[in-house]
């Protein structure tokens, strides 16, 4: 697997506080990589190291196979969580300035800005001052400035904060679009539903250490416990319930006598669903039999809690 970014045992210390402890990550090309973790876990420090804002005390960072160097700055686009614009400056001028700082020529920057302003339907903002804009409007401009220089790697830290649902969707579509075009994306957020929706890979950082990483689908597989949600229909649900609870360990039971419906959650031994299904089928109509796969949110909370409990 070809990786856009690899960190090897990156360690960073601020005074007595260890911000990152031997964090090794492999971020595959052309994917969306979720960087998760509670507040203060060390995500921002890691992102700043990738952006060469600060430098690791120990460990190396490789960008596209090369040791990370200042020349790579122009190949990375970073939308920080704490972001803002010069309040008194005009939108267009400001976007041009930030684009030029990323290494674009003025002409090229203007051409691309025009395209993006049209595309996100904000063409008439060019001569407005930033202080006249709403927070969401300013976020759009920051998004454009981040991606304008067509970087190979994009780092978004809470990209949807400050957006209304409609604009959040527009931005989400643009992010997916960028991925389609071959950009690799690191995505740092607390919003787990967007992690589910967007990320193929995740890494979980907690108390300065990486405690989990890999493909999201693999992680989910690893975290499932063969728990199934079952829905049965039978003439005498009460009798059926007694019979089942004698034989199996079930929970979250719901009985609807009028509709003859029985719902419950059951944990079954691995690769043994056939026998149980047959048992149910003999006694009732099965109208639901679904494996419960833990959400990213549950994995997040469970892992962090497990980690804390172990200490």
């Amino acid at each position: 697997m070809d990786n856009i970014l690899v960190t090897k045992e990156v360690t960073k210390q601020y005074g007595k506080h260890l911000a990152l402890n031997k964090v090794s990550l492999e971020i595959p090309k052309n994917s969306i990589y979720g960087l998760l973790g509670p507040n203060g876990a060390g995500k921002t420090t890691l992102i700043r190291i990738i952006n060469q804002i600060t430098f690791p005390d120990k460990g190396e960072v490789y960008f596209d196979g090369e040791l990370l160097k200042p020349k790579h700055i122009s190949m990375i686009g970073y939308l920080p969580e704490e972001r803002g614009l010069y309040k008194g400056m005009k939108v267009g001028e400001q976007a041009l300035y930030l684009a030029q700082l990323k290494g674009l020529s003025k002409v090229e920057a203007k051409k691309r800005l025009m395209y993006w302003f049209e595309r996100l339907d904000i063409g008439d903002w060019w001569n407005k001052k930033v202080q006249e804009l709403s927070k969401g409007m300013a976020q759009k401009i920051q998004f454009i400035v981040t991606i304008l220089h067509e970087p190979k790697l994009l780092i978004f830290d809470e990209p949807f904060s400050g957006f209304d649902p409609i604009n959040a969707n527009i931005i989400k579509d643009e992010i997916l679009n960028l991925k389609e075009k071959g950009t690799s994306i690191i995505f740092s957020t607390h919003r787990m539903e967007s992690v589910e929706e967007l990320c193929e890979y995740i890494a979980l950082i907690h108390q300065s250490e990486k405690i989990l990483d890999g493909k999201l689908s693999d992680i989910k597989k690893a975290y499932k416990n063969n728990i199934f949600r079952v829905g049965l229909q039978a003439e005498n649900v009460d009798l059926l319930l007694t019979e089942i609870s004698d034989k199996f360990n079930i929970s979250k039971v719901g009985v609807d006598a009028l509709e003859n419906q029985l719902d419950f959650t059951i944990q079954i031994p691995a690769n043994d669903s056939g026998e149980i299904l047959a048992f149910f089928a003999n006694r009732s109509n099965i109208n639901q039999f679904t494996e419960i796969i833990p959400s990213a949110n549950e994995i997040f909370i469970q892992t962090v809690q497990d980690k804390d409990a172990n200490e």
Binding site: Y14, G15, R48, N51, I53, T54, P70, I73, S74, I76, Y78, L79, P80, E82, R83, G84, L85, Y86, K87, G88, M89, Y97, L98, Q100, L101, K102, G103, Q142, V145
Partner: protein, 446 residues
């Protein structure tokens, strides 16, 4: 591609386009000129007010001593009673009445003379009158000792010691002061510039922090580049402002003087009131024109080109040192109210430089204090400039002092910029709390 020019350009334009900058730039010269014109105008009015003093002289003396001068005229009363003289003096609104009674001896005349006024008389008027009496009394005593009037006139000559350097150049009294004032002017300019534009740099850093744009920018440029871009851009804006001020103030001043018909030399005379009066009382003093010419020559002898060159050198180094400290302070705090505790220690050496400069350089440009402060890097830009109008080398600032001063300044500049850049780099990404000095020190190691 080098990003520094892009940053400098933005910082410059942001400053120059700022409304308050535009207003300050164009309003200040008008205010300044208005002030100068007002002072000149008031001085003129003040000078125009003539005092009239009535003199009721019954004695045989002083008949030719009370001559009308620029500021005082004398009206002589004759053959009236003292009461009538007093009444008419009050009635005519004169400043006062000098009564010199008839006595047989000058001493007694003097002892019994009175000056009547409505209110307590001004000291300058009294001095003027007393001077007349003193001169006459001294002449009389000398005559008693056998010195004739003509001999007395010859004897009473003003004397000034002649001074000369070892090279034979004539020294003028007070030239040191004038030179120091010129140097002090440059030094003062540097101090004002540092305080005003250092403050701008600091506020600009704080603005970037509070608006949170800093993290966006810092992912594309090095903090050091941003800091230097900011300092240079802001100082260019400052230089623009100063240039506009100097040009427009000069123009306005000429226009204003033309309109109000004020002779610019009025201002100079005003500053030397006592000197002018002494000149009036003592016709034997060399003509003021000659003195002025001598001073003018001395001013031309001041090595202006050298002075301006060193002004630029000290200005740039001094400004860079101080404004990078200002930038570091801006980076360390979250809002302007937190800056006070850090600003005071920077202003201190500047104030010290100005005061030490004015006191010790004026009295002795090459004394140990003056030398020490012109070597110490935080004060040298101001103090050295006060010493420099005296020239370099023999009779002026020794070359080694100049070299050491500039070298120290450069070393300090490198050290402080390094130090400030460290604090800046860490500080701009720290939000929420005001750091202590101890924490600032720790940041250097990050």
């Amino acid at each position: 591609m080098n990003k520094l020019p892009i940053i400098i350009k933005r910082e410059y334009l942001a400053k120059v386009r700022n409304k308050s900058f535009v207003i300050m730039t164009f309003l200040s010269p008008i205010l300044m000129v208005a002030m100068v014109v007002l002072i000149a105008y008031l001085t003129k009015i003040n000078d125009n007010q003539k005092r009239i003093i009535g003199v009721f002289n019954e004695s045989d003396y002083f008949s030719n001593d009370f001559n009308t001068t620029e500021s005082t005229s004398y009206v002589l009363f004759k053959d009236v009673s003292l009461q009538a003289a007093k009444d008419s003096t009050a009635h005519m609104g004169y400043y006062g009445l000098l009564h010199i009674p008839y006595e047989d001896e000058l001493e007694k005349v003097a002892a019994h003379s009175y000056f009547y006024t409505k209110e307590t008389p001004s000291s300058s008027v009294l001095e003027q009158l007393e001077h007349v009496f003193q001169a006459r009394l001294r002449e009389r005593r000398l005559q008693d000792m056998g010195v004739s009037s003509s001999e007395f006139a010859q004897m009473d000559k003003k004397y000034e010691i002649n001074t000369e350097t070892f090279e034979g150049e004539q020294n003028l009294k007070g030239v040191n002061e004038i030179k120091a004032i010129i140097g002090g002017g440059f030094g003062y300019l540097i101090m004002m510039f540092i305080i005003i534009y250092g403050g701008f740099v600091m506020r600009s850093v704080i603005e970037e922090k509070t608006s949170r744009i800093i993290e966006v920018i810092i992912s594309s440029v090095k903090p050091f580049q941003l800091m230097m871009g900011k300092i240079i851009g802001t100082s260019l804006a400052g230089i623009t402002q100063f240039a506009i001020w100097i040009v427009s103030a000069t123009l306005l001043l000429f226009v204003a003087f033309a309109i109000f018909d004020i002779d610019p030399t009025t201002l100079n005379n005003g500053a030397e009131v006592t000197g002018g009066m002494a000149g009036n009382m003592m016709p034997s003093v060399p003509t003021p024109n000659q003195t002025i010419q001598a001073y003018a020559q001395e001013l031309f002898k001041i090595p202006w080109a050298m002075l301006i060159c060193f002004f630029v050198v000290y200005f740039i180094l001094g400004y860079l040192i101080y404004s990078s400290i200002y930038a570091a302070i801006g980076a360390a705090v979250d809002n302007e109210t937190d800056t006070q505790q850090f600003i005071f220690p920077i202003i201190l050496p500047l104030m010290l430089a100005i005061y030490v400069g004015f006191f010790s350089v004026f009295s002795n440009p090459h004394g140990p204090i003056a030398v020490g402060f012109s070597l110490f890097p935080l004060t040298s830009p101001i103090v050295m400039l006060m010493r420099l109008p005296g020239g370099i080398g023999e009779g002026g600032v020794p070359i080694w002092e100049l070299v050491v001063s500039i070298l120290l300044l450069i070393v300090t500049f490198l050290g402080i910029v390094w130090f400030a850049a460290k604090i800046y780099r860490v500080g701009i990404l720290m939000y929420g709390k005001k750091p202590t000095y101890k924490e600032l020190f720790k940041w250097i190691k990050y």
